[in-house]
């Protein structure tokens, strides 16, 4: 599979490896979403298990966006990773897998990464109007949007 992908996308596939028996590929962010489409159509990864992100605050491109895919046909899993800078938007995978809808909303809610082409990108777990994205590493564990809490809950602090 890797050679097929490399044949098609050349040096865009930066790394293809196995870690503890789990396959992953690291790709150039410009290959998203074409590569995801190819993975679904040609490599039969028909199930989008999860979309998530990892925050590396010290890196120039701060975010790794991770697509976890599964193929019912081949009983195979793969993780696709691509790097994105803070403020850079990621092409949405909703046209490829409808399941991506809520998953991308969660990544947006928790990390503040915008998905271009998402039909209804808004917060999913936190209330709309909340300031900050809690899964960024610079968001403290007891940090909260004090102003939101005071206005909407009528209490001084949620702590």
């Amino acid at each position: 599979m890797v050679s097929r992908l490399k044949g098609r996308h050349g040096s865009g596939i930066r790394e293809a490896n196995t870690y503890l028996g789990q396959k992953y590929i690291v790709v150039d962010s410009s290959l998203i979403p074409e590569l995801l489409q190819v993975l679904r159509d040609q490599e039969l990864f028909d199930y989008c298990v999860d979309i998530t992100a990892v925050h590396y605050p010290d890196r120039e491109k701060q975010f790794d966006v991770v697509w976890i895919l599964y193929s019912f046909t081949n009983n195979e899993r793969i993780r696709v990773k691509a790097m994105f800078a803070d403020g850079e938007s990621v092409p949405s995978a909703v046209p490829i897998w409808p399941a991506a809808n809520w998953l991308e909303r969660e990544v947006y809610d928790m990390f503040g990464i915008r998905f271009e082409g998402h039909p209804d990108l808004k917060r999913i777990l936190l209330p709309e109007g909340w300031k900050g994205h809690p899964l960024r590493k610079d968001y403290g564990i007891i940090q909260q949007d004090q102003e939101w809490v005071q206005i909407n809950l009528g209490i001084e602090s949620g702590q």
Binding site: L20, G21, D46, Y47, C48, V49, F72, N75, R77, W97, P98, A99, M110, K122, R123, I124, L125, L126, P127, E128, G129, P134, L135, K137, Y139, I141, N152
Partner: protein, 293 residues
């Protein structure tokens, strides 16, 4: 508490509101049958639901953020709370994941204990679901039956680790407790006790006309839609896909066990029948293990 987006959505709907019979109704977040708080904005035409929008997050506890500030061991009891009626199963998933990261494996005996307790938990979880599901659509009796029988599983958990719901039964690398004196006998007794009960539940519901009318041809979802939307587990099997993670990519001791996967034909009622059939199937798992001893 109405937030800004929902208001915007309501305004958008209002554009079509006058030239049709559509009605927007807000359900929740406190629904009378609340099993976890969900708010649904319903678009109705008479009694027909034309569209819904779910507002979730009321029970969001930020466990990922908590996990950032805990060690693997410290975080272990938190996963019990993610689904407190399936704490054992959650614990298994978490421990196996950490073990994989650390590249260690639990000893065989621990794996068998894990599978036995997890399958018992699966059964208890199905019972709670079946009872409350029937209750929600108007049948009160099944709830008493399933809760009475679920109690027996909880008693086994309590004897094993001292807790009934949030069990924290497993530790990274194995189990913390050996099975108690008489564990095998009690599990065996429970299986003999519960097997005929499953037929009883099935009879209570599938021969009940109201239940049949209220679930037949409701909430149809095709196998293709399931996969596209990322729906797995019993719902996927009820849509006719014979797929089970325990078979496809076995974990714990499942690769050594012999069991069937049931599947059905994709409507709400078949999901229920399937679930009770599944419970039955998986009773064979712990009993198989014991016959090998």
């Amino acid at each position: 508490m109405t937030d800004r987006t929902s208001q915007l959505e309501l305004e958008q709907h209002e554009k079509t509101f006058l030239d049709s019979n559509e009605l927007i109704i807000n359900m929740g977040p406190q629904h009378p049958a609340t099993h976890g708080v969900l708010r649904v904005i319903l678009k109705l035409d008479g009694e027909k639901v034309l569209g819904t929008e779910c507002v979730i997050g009321y029970l969001h506890r930020g466990v990922e953020k908590i996990a950032e500030h805990r060690t693997y061991t410290m975080f272990n009891p938190y996963v019990d709370r993610m689904d407190y009626v399936a704490a054992v199963s959650n614990g298994l998933g978490y421990c196996e994941a950490v073990e994989k990261l650390l590249n260690v494996e639990a000893p065989p005996r621990a794996k068998y204990i894990r599978v036995i307790l997890t399958e018992l938990n699966r059964l208890a979880s199905h019972m709670l679901w079946l009872g409350t599901h029937a209750l929600d659509i108007g049948a009160i009796t099944p709830l008493f039956y399933t809760f009475r029988d679920r109690e027996e599983v909880l008693k086994i958990f309590e004897k094993y680790c001292g807790a009934r719901l949030t069990t924290h039964a497993f530790r990274i690398g194995g189990c913390v407790y050996e099975t108690y004196e008489g564990f095998e006998r009690e599990v065996k007794k429970f299986i003999d006790f519960v097997t005929p009960k499953i037929d009883e539940y099935e009879e209570l519901l599938t021969t009940n006309r109201i239940w049949v009318e209220r679930t037949k041809n409701v909430g149809r979802i095709s196998a293709k839609e399931c996969i596209a939307l990322g729906v797995t587990g019993p719902v996927l099997r009820a849509s006719g896909v014979k797929w089970d993670l325990r078979k496809a990519q076995p974990y714990a001791a499942y690769s050594e066990l012999d069991f069937d996967i049931s599947c059905a034909c994709g409507k709400c009622g078949s999901r229920c029948e399937l679930s009770s059939k599944r419970s039955e199937r998986f009773l064979t798992v712990p009993s198989w293990r014991r016959s090998q001893r």
